[in-house]
């Protein structure tokens, strides 16, 4: 553990509550100068209207009634069963005096009345998705949350529809089919509403689908633009305004020429993760998923535009820049993790940056106006990659771990879900620290010949995962973005699959797969409070100011997801390759937790 900064932080926290603390915090922010842009992260209003909290995706709330000195008294205010037994990755939203909770498939939206004791059910909306969609969802039938804008709740359904629901009445405003489950397309991501457009993307990178991102008109649900992640430039919406930073991304129709003939048609690059939006630059940021199939020997080339980050004009969808975190991805390292937008001093200059803790094992700091990589520092034990070449932007692979047909390559770190999967980190501008829930795992990987049958998996790999160095599989790390190093880390027995949330009370919240919901000191990592919920936690904590003026903290408990599929899908622990190799590492989870979705809301007495 890195003690020097930790000691300074502890010293500072001793003065918490005194005028010194305030001076220190202000001094720190003036000196660190890392904060989300005000246009993307407006002043605290006590609500939580989108999973990322704001367009900058900081997952930070300014509420500070619950703080380091009183969090030990936190207790349950109310609970609510979603009636669903699958993995609950969604974030509970609060708009005004109503809480919105979205279940995994069958994607039921519940509205709870926060003005009444016990928050009774106001209404429910059931989109009744096609049950067959469950058969083409690679990694449990999850959903990562609804989002709110202009009196409507928007969300995606597993059978590839986008729905708009009246936030007051639960009435369906529109429902648009945007994907075809018979081809393996599903939807699990939380939409982002930028201006008057609902931006969504598809899932199905393990089924040989062709990834896309699409904007729907928020009023009518009609498609405004759609950009694919593979194929000719016009399909990808690459035109004269596309100015990538690195030479490797310049050229005509790279989405075709960096693939074997026609392989891009089943090339993946699905857009199933997080998006951010910078209103000042009018740029939308989204990642693209892994190329298909996993067997990389079937698709020689850089496989543009998979496993990268796009900046697009949200009005037209036109691409502005692109950066590929893993050219010719060999181990399923989707680039769909969150992009935290910050303005910070970098080498003496103020830069508009985008921070992305990637599956490849590096925390990327990009200039979000150009796509230039300012820094890429490792946050996970690595054997498969050695670094990122900042001149070319290219990931440097270790040739010893590259796939060979029908041979088991051992001890590859990180694993297929990466150093960190979808579960988002949080950034507090009070501490200037990024809080990253992630994994510590390695794997054996055998490349096999896949067989493309539309609507069935298109993978071509036998995988088994196991704990990384130290034997624990999860880590919760406080990350110094500028220095590119960990300040402190909390080890967890199982992989962390829940999101993080930071608050103005200098607390960070997260949950683990055993079911413990935890509050830790944002400056020291000291465990201050924990509560055992009914099932493992893979959801995203949120916080809000209730109609009574008090601060509450909410989280969904309900194990599942790729990591928890062994429990939510009743998988057989004797087969290590089950759930694409995750079961090999998760055999004990069945002895620790059971499935079942419940909302927990906490308050001070």
């Amino acid at each position: 553990m890195k003690r020097s900064l930790g000691a300074a932080i502890i010293t500072a926290s001793i003065y918490a509550g005194s005028p010194w603390a305030l001076a220190w915090a202000q001094g720190a922010s003036a000196h660190n100068i890392a904060a989300p842009p005000a246009s993307a992260a407006p002043a605290e209003d006590g609500q939580w209207t989108m999973p990322g909290k704001n367009f900058a995706s900081t997952r930070y709330s300014g509420l500070d009634q619950i703080n380091v000195s009183n969090v030990k008294n936190l207790q349950v205010a109310f609970t609510f069963s979603t009636g669903v037994n699958k993995g609950h990755e969604s974030a509970p939203l609060v708009v005004g005096s109503t809480m919105y909770v979205l279940s995994p498939y069958p994607n039921i939206l519940y509205a709870l009345d926060l003005t009444q004791p016990g928050a009774p059910l106001k209404w429910r909306y059931n989109p009744k998705p096609d049950a067959a969609a469950q058969g083409v969802a690679c990694c449990d039938v999850v959903n990562r949350g609804p989002t709110y804008a202009n009196g409507r709740i928007f969300f995606t359904t597993l059978d590839a529809h986008v729905v708009a629901v009246n936030a007051d009445t639960g009435e369906e405003m529109w429902k648009t089919k945007v994907g075809e489950i018979n081809k393996g397309e599903t939807m699990t991501m939380a939409p982002l509403v930028a201006k008057d457009k609902v931006v969504v993307g598809n899932s199905g990178g393990e089924y040989g689908v062709r990834g896309w991102v699409q904007a729907l008109d928020a009023a009518s649900g009609k498609s405004v633009w759609k950009a694919y992640s593979t194929g000719p430039d016009r399909d990808v919406k690459i035109g004269p305004s596309f100015k990538p930073f690195y030479d490797g991304d310049k050229g005509q129709d790279l989405g075709v020429s960096t693939w074997p003939p026609n392989a891009w048609e089943q090339g993946g690059g699905t857009v199933w993760g997080w998006m951010s939006y910078d209103p000042d630059l009018n740029l939308l940021y989204h990642g693209t998923g892994n190329p298909g199939p996993w067997n990389a020997n079937q698709r020689p080339g850089d496989n543009k535009w998979t496993t990268g980050i796009f900046a697009r004009d949200p009005d037209t969808g036109d691409a502005r820049w692109y950066y590929q975190t893993a050219q010719h991805d060999i181990h399923d390292w989707d680039t769909i993790n969150e992009q935290v937008l910050l303005d910070m001093e970098w080498d003496g200059q103020m830069r508009k940056v985008l921070v992305h803790p990637g599956r490849t094992g590096f925390v990327y700091v990009l200039d979000r106006t150009t796509g230039e990589v300012l820094s890429a520092k490792p946050f996970h034990a690595l054997t498969a990659v050695t670094g990122v070449d900042l001149k070319t932007g290219r990931l440097q692979y270790n040739p010893d771990k590259e796939p060979i047909q029908n041979r088991v390559v051992r001890n590859i770190c990180p694993t297929a879900p990466g150093s960190k999967d979808w579960n988002p980190s949080a950034f507090s501008h009070r501490t200037g620290v990024l809080y990253i829930p992630h994994m510590n795992m390695c794997m054996d990987w055998e490349t096999t010949e896949p067989n493309y049958i539309a609507g069935t998996p298109y993978v071509g790999a036998e995988v088994r995962m196991f704990p990384g160095p130290g034997g624990h599989m999860g880590e919760f790390s406080a990350w110094d973005i500028r220095a590119g190093k960990e300040l402190w880390t909390i080890n967890e027995r199982f992989p962390l699959w829940s999101g993080a949330m930071a608050t103005g009370g200098d607390l960070v919240f997260y949950g683990n797969m055993e079911g413990w919901f935890k509050a830790v000191h944002a400056r020291t990592g000291e465990a201050l409070w924990q509560f055992k919920t009914s099932s493992g936690i893979i959801g995203q904590p949120t916080t809000y100011r209730g109609p009574d003026g008090k601060q509450y903290v909410a989280v969904l408990s309900g194990v599942g997801g790729w990591a928890g599929a062994i429990v939510s899908g009743d998988l057989d622990p004797r087969d290590g390759s089950a759930a694409l190799g995750f079961v090999n590492a998760m055999r004990d989870l069945k002895n620790v937790t059971t499935k079942g979705g419940t909302l927990y809301v906490f308050k001070l007495p």
Binding site: V84, G135, N451, T456, Y458, D570, L580
Partner: protein
Amino acid sequence: MTRGALMLLCASLLVGACERERREFRRDPVVASDEDKITMSSISPGGGQPAAQSSARAKEFENNAYHVSQGKKYYTWFNCNGCHSNGGGGSGPPLMDDTWIYGGSMENIVRTIKEGRPNGMPSFRDRIPDDQIWELAAYVRSMGRAIPQDVAPGRNDDMHPRPAENRQPYVTPIPGGSTPPSGLAPQ
């Protein structure tokens, strides 16, 4: 010892070997279509067992090592492993345990492959020839070893993430399953 006695011994060995692996090489496609009456329930109104009638086909396939090993090959070829892994399951349910949501008999499994099931099992009707579906079903039955040990496959050509089929203890399939089909608890 006479040469005649030795020949007799060899002949009897040959006959014995033939006895063990008898199978039809090519079935009449008309006769081979579905004629089984199958059920997914163990109860029936009015008392007595549900009306069910099965041909001898199930035994013919699941007691035959050739059919089972063909089934193992098709299991990968038709991407069954993409969802059910090497029997432990993934997006699809496990096949090596004793729990069968839609019934664990040969006839049930053949129906499941052919017709699909509402919670995500695709229908393979007219995509896979009938005999190959029976071979697949026989292999599926071997995964949790509901078939004789000497018929069950012994090794994978790829990474061995699980004990071999013929090393498993014999299990009796429990029909009907225990999982609410959609993962949705009763409301």
